[in-house]
């Protein structure tokens, strides 16, 4: 982070102590949120967050900032709805402007199978607490008049689901608001501190080795993103995680207002307008696992082509910049939260391409788990042991990136 921002958000840096009650590895949204909720809800402030580079510089700063709860399975709808609600009150709670804006989210269907899926999504969402309704072409046209309902003659828009609570927020403001809130209450955040090993006593994790020396810990939480496998290996935990790159890009300024967030499951892209007026467009992950941050021209070409099919006005815009994040993808496209089978080592991972929207709820629930030692009911289904128990939470159709 640059000095200007550090001054602005009044972060107070400290030298690392020898021991903390809780050490959180990974200074992204989930790590910072866990520290924030440990401090505010449970009064646990002897906490350190260790970040390899700068806070919010990984996937928390490389996403498309969509907040939604329109998932396809009950467990996920309940969890993400909690997150949507926490985001709505996060500005009042942290007293910081995170540029939260409720926009409404349209998921479009182009064939009968798609319509069935969106109808089912609306039913599941309504049953488990999220607000989603099925909408026909006429309503879609009213919500987003810029959509070409003929889909260039190939991808006609036949229907879709509308999720009015769909929102966006400014990603780094979310990170800073949480970091500042945690630091004000005594949490230490150490940037440019790389974890190079875990200290174990018998089978129990009792601290971390960093490039700045050893740090003792009552509990270690891994809130690492794409590089989570490396840390889990140090603890001796096998993870079902594959690291895939996800690319996105923004165009130059679109003068008219584009209200909703629009996604097409058939064409595999999603688009929204940033506060600056740029059109922000993302698509599916790269098929091969990789830790490379490099972007490719092939992605820009194919994604822009698909986006222009439904939103013809994009033809007149230019791509300003693109970026890549490396995502921790789980095999069932649901996150993994909770205990790992190794004492003193907790994990929150598998956030793949859907982690930003879950930052407050993920942090709140992980904080509760660490403070009480008991897994809260909301995240109990998301444990790492679900694969061995044959209770996977398959929800690929709700990831939006496949």
């Amino acid at each position: 982070m640059n000095e200007f921002i550090e001054q602005k958000v009044q972060l107070q840096w400290h030298e690392p102590k020898a021991n903390y009650d809780v050490v959180i590895v990974g200074g992204g949204g989930h790590g910072l949120a866990t520290a924030y909720f440990l401090a505010t809800r449970h009064g646990i402030t002897n906490v350190a967050v260790l970040e390899r580079k700068y806070i919010g510089g990984g996937n928390s700063g490389r996403n498309t900032t969509v907040i939604r709860a329109n998932y396809g399975i009950p467990e996920a709808v309940r969890f993400y709805q909690r997150s949507v609600e926490l985001y709505q009150t996060l500005e009042a709670e942290t007293e910081r402007w995170i540029m939260h804006k409720q926009k409404g989210l349209l998921w479009l269907a182009h064939n009968e199978a798609g319509i069935r899926a969106e109808r089912a999504r609306a039913e599941v969402n309504t049953a488990f607490g999220a607000k989603t309704e099925y909408v026909g072409p006429k309503e879609i046209q009213e919500i987003a008049p810029q959509i070409d309902m003929m889909g260039g003659g190939v991808w006609p828009v036949l229907g879709g689901s509308y999720h009015p609570e769909g929102a966006t927020a400014r990603h780094d403001r979310v990170n800073w608001a949480l970091a500042e809130g945690a630091m004000r209450r005594g949490v230490h955040i150490h940037q440019r501190t790389t974890v190079i090993g875990l200290r174990k006593e018998g089978d129990r994790v009792v601290g971390v080795m960093t490039d700045k020396g050893p740090i003792g810990a009552g509990v270690v939480l891994s809130a690492v993103g794409g590089h989570v496998t490396n840390l889990a290996n140090m603890a001796g935990v096998r993870l079902p995680i594959r690291t895939h790159p996800l690319q996105a890009f923004v165009t130059n300024h679109y003068a008219r207002q584009f209200d909703p967030i629009v996604a097409s499951m058939g064409l595999l892209f999603y688009a929204s307008q940033t506060a600056r007026g740029e059109m922000l467009i993302g698509a599916e992950i790269d098929r091969q696992p990789s830790y490379s941050y490099r972007s490719g021209h092939h992605f820009l070409q194919s994604c822009a082509f698909r986006a222009m099919t439904l939103l013809p006005f994009l033809r007149n815009l230019r791509i300003l910049r693109q970026w890549t994040g490396v995502c921790d993808m789980s095999p069932d496209y649901s996150p993994i939260m909770g205990q790992t089978g190794v004492d003193g080592f907790y994990i929150t991972t598998g956030w793949g391409t859907w982690g930003f929207k879950a930052i407050p709820a993920g942090g709140e629930q992980m904080a509760q788990l660490i403070a009480t030692g008991e897994t809260p009911a909301l995240i109990a289904p998301f444990g790492l042991d679900r694969f061995a128990r044959d209770r996977t939470l398959a929800d690929r159709g709700s990831a939006g990136t496949h």
Partner: protein, 80 residues
């Protein structure tokens, strides 16, 4: 970034012509048969470095190609 995969039949071809195929590897330390099945189905080594992988040349010779790729840089280091 564009990557070319050296296909033994077609020569170097762009990666978009290929389909990625994973080669799961279960560590030898896992001996219990059930644990090996679980590991094979779900768990992944996910190396940050060179890994052996298979690619199917969908839009070419329609045969499998094995390569070693460095997952940090996407460089293909040697022919497998």
């Amino acid at each position: 970034m564009n990557i070319n995969i050296p296909c033994p039949h077609c020569g170097p071809r762009p990666i978009q012509e290929f389909m990625y195929g994973e080669i799961p590897s279960v560590p030898d330390e896992i001996t219990d048969p059930d644990a090996r099945d679980l590991d094979r189905a779900f768990m992944r080594t996910n190396p940050e470095g060179v890994q052996l992988e298979a690619w199917f040349h969908t839009y070419g010779c329609r045969r499998w190609v094995r390569i070693h790729r460095d997952t940090r840089t996407d460089e293909i280091v040697e022919r497998g």
